[in-house]
Symmetry: C2
Subunit: 428 residues, 2 copies
């Protein structure tokens, strides 16, 4: 995707108002006079402009890509084409998992701009988790989202030709993949200018990770898998900051990192961010044990996300296997059906191992890399924050180096529970 950058312009408030007013459907949806629309820039992500526009009747959200990384500035250019890939992915997700992504209202490829349903009163899930909120619908919704999106874009559902074309359609999004390759799979394990951590408390832990060759082999294998295993169309950035929730609704947003990659990367992202919410929770306590029910819910949710994802994925495989992988004529009769059933379980076990490893990678990058998360960052006392982070890192290190030793999701939550009150040695 090359962009005619000549026609791209950043739409700030006035220009955006005119632009939206020029589209009758959207203007009608907003209602009233364009001059009266309230336009607020709310982007708190790392990459883009996001506006909320509200009129007399309703509201919309507008997302426009900037030609650089917003978190860093113009010194780090980033292709506008990512808006095209986000639009492609969002369209696909809307078909495959209806009701779990915001409705698409308009896309302009030249402006790298998308107008979407305004999600109200949804909040970013991560903020809710920091506040100790529980989301009873979440495990069911996110497991549906992942099972359907990953299954239906995989070789289990797609003819091989269609799958190859789909891989190619997202190949151009490599600048976004490169961010992941660097920031998740490389930088946290070496001295890199953009790294940061809760210093000086975690200085020793940071140094020990940089010197941990077993960990470096494990992260390098995961990196290679990330780069060269186009199993399914991933969201690519499926953390709790990319999910908006109410108690009764879940919406997944921001798939601009979408590409064909290993399924475990998405599933691991969800589990990792829940586990980080769990370890951060102790840091948000004002009285010992006050967040116990929240923490119990988080670990139950970790278990349910995996078990429901696995169950739904297997259900789809049993009923919707129209792809070229595992051809059914090779598994005819009772004996074939039994053997295929066992193989499906083995497949899920391999996917679980990948998931455990990727979850670990997603954890370590949030503690030692460039992009941190508010689960930990909002723990004001840096010593408390470092303790929560060190617990998460201890679990993650084990999950990455001995991923296959975690046979079930209960092995993961059990290990997390044991670390709830573990006292790490800090550097000061």
């Amino acid at each position: 995707m090359t962009q005619g950058r000549g026609d791209y312009r950043i739409l700030q408030e006035a220009a955006l108002r005119d632009y939206l007013a020029g589209m009758p459907d959207i203007a009608a949806q907003l209602g009233g006079e364009p001059a009266a629309w309230a336009i607020t820039e709310v982007g708190d992500g790392n990459l883009n402009l996001v506006f909320i526009v509200k009129g007399a009747r309703g509201g919309v959200a507008v997302k426009q890509a900037l030609p650089y990384v917003r978190l860093v500035g113009e010194s780090w250019p980033l292709p506008l084409s990512r808006a095209h890939y986000e639009y492609l992915a969002l369209s696909r997700q809307a078909k495959l998992a209806p009701g779990l992504v915001p409705a698409l209202l308009h896309h302009n490829e030249t402006l790298a701009l998308t107008v979407m349903e305004l999600l109200e009163p949804h909040i970013i899930m991560r903020k809710g988790l920091v506040a100790g909120m529980r989301y009873p619908r979440f495990a069911d919704d996110i497991s549906t989202f992942m099972a359907r999106n990953l299954f239906f874009t995989s070789d289990l559902a797609l003819p091989a030709a269609e799958k190859k074309e789909a891989i190619a359609a997202f190949a151009g999004n490599h600048a976004l993949c490169k961010i992941t390759e660097d920031l998740i799979f490389t930088d946290p394990y070496r001295i890199a200018e953009q790294n940061r951590w809760t210093a000086p408390y975690l200085d020793g832990l940071a140094a020990s990770l940089r010197d941990d060759m077993e960990l470096h082999v494990a992260i390098s294998r995961l990196k290679l898998k990330f780069m060269a295993s186009p199993e399914a169309l991933l969201h690519g950035d499926l953390h709790t900051g990319s999910i908006m929730v109410t108690e009764s609704q879940t919406r997944v947003i921001d798939p601009e990192f979408a590409f064909y990659g290993p399924m475990g990367f998405d599933v691991g992202a969800v589990l990792a961010n829940l586990l980080m919410a769990y370890f951060a929770s102790a840091g948000h306590e004002r009285a010992a044990g006050e967040r116990h029910e929240f923490e119990t819910w988080v670990l139950e949710t970790v278990e349910q996300v995996w078990s429901e994802f696995s169950r739904k994925f297997l259900d789809l495989w049993r009923t919707e296997a129209s792809g070229d992988a595992y051809p059914l004529p090779l598994f005819a009769g009772d004996k074939g059906a039994a053997r295929l059933k066992a193989e499906r379980q083995a497949y899920m076990q391999r996917l679980f191992t990948d998931t455990v490893g990727f979850a670990a990678a997603k954890t370590i990058r949030r503690i030692f890399g460039l992009a941190h998360n508010i689960d930990f960052e909002l723990i004001e006392d840096p010593r408390k924050r470092a303790i929560s982070e060190a617990r998460a890192v201890r679990l993650a290190r084990g999950m990455m180096v001995e991923a296959a030793a975690f046979r079930t999701i209960a092995d993961v939550t059990g290990a997390a529970r044991k670390l709830r009150d573990w006292q790490p040695e800090l550097s000061v």
Copy 2:
């Protein structure tokens, strides 16, 4: 790649003569009057027209794709775009492994036509192997060809962005991949109209493979790996019918199946075809033991192909690792270097396991699928042929189902040697 089929036409002798006469460089290379050029159609492959053109001074080879599978006829259409992918692959191989592919003289995408250096006095290696010829250069040359082509198109050598673009550049060749997916990874294991085997002798063996669920799981895992593991740019059809040889030269031809896939598929193809030559050899004996030296050479060559490939690939990894995989800053110092060295060995061991599995798949398809090979086909006595084939299948079945049990290439050749005089039970 969509083709303007309106301009495509099949060039038979007269039209081809005019076409070549219109290109001064090629006309000069042929020499003399175009009317005096000798044009002979020699294509004995499954898909294309191949002409040898000889003039007063020299000769060229001309390959033109037909819009259908030549072996089957117009009922099986096949995109002409494969000539474009073949040209892309050949150009890449010429750069990466100079002197090991024919020189490219001209390519016309619309006509799906390529003019190449005429290889003389080279013969198709498979014909030489049937005749019991030995090729002392072969192991060195083919291991260089594979090590350089696979390494330099992999994540070990390419930046991730370039690799993703390269995968996309070959994604459109999916019709050729589909032939492999069906004919190698599916049909031999089920009842399929195009299957054939040395009946009635192998009827029981054919039925037993169709009923062998462990084998069906193994071939399905390999199929999925073939479809979804774009490790490197493969030749895609690297059997001894795609290699032309003299005693002192090796040239790899016909990369029209080129795509990004698992490295073991190419390496396994070479090993499988040597192993089939080994098992076929007994069927070509006129006196017991007369081909003993040839057979010894074949198994030594199997061992050398793998060990030289592995050694050269590792050498390249040590000296030319400019890709994004296994970043060197993560393996600094003596400890890092030692750990990376061990990981490279582990990588090669995984690649060896893949190779063993794919070699098995390439063997079974030649005995029960659509496309057979003259190693076996030219054994006139069908009972003798069936015995040779059954030996190859016995080894292949083990290699596919227990690939990881073959730890070294000597395990493979040792198993082959033990089967040299094994007497299978035939159906009649």
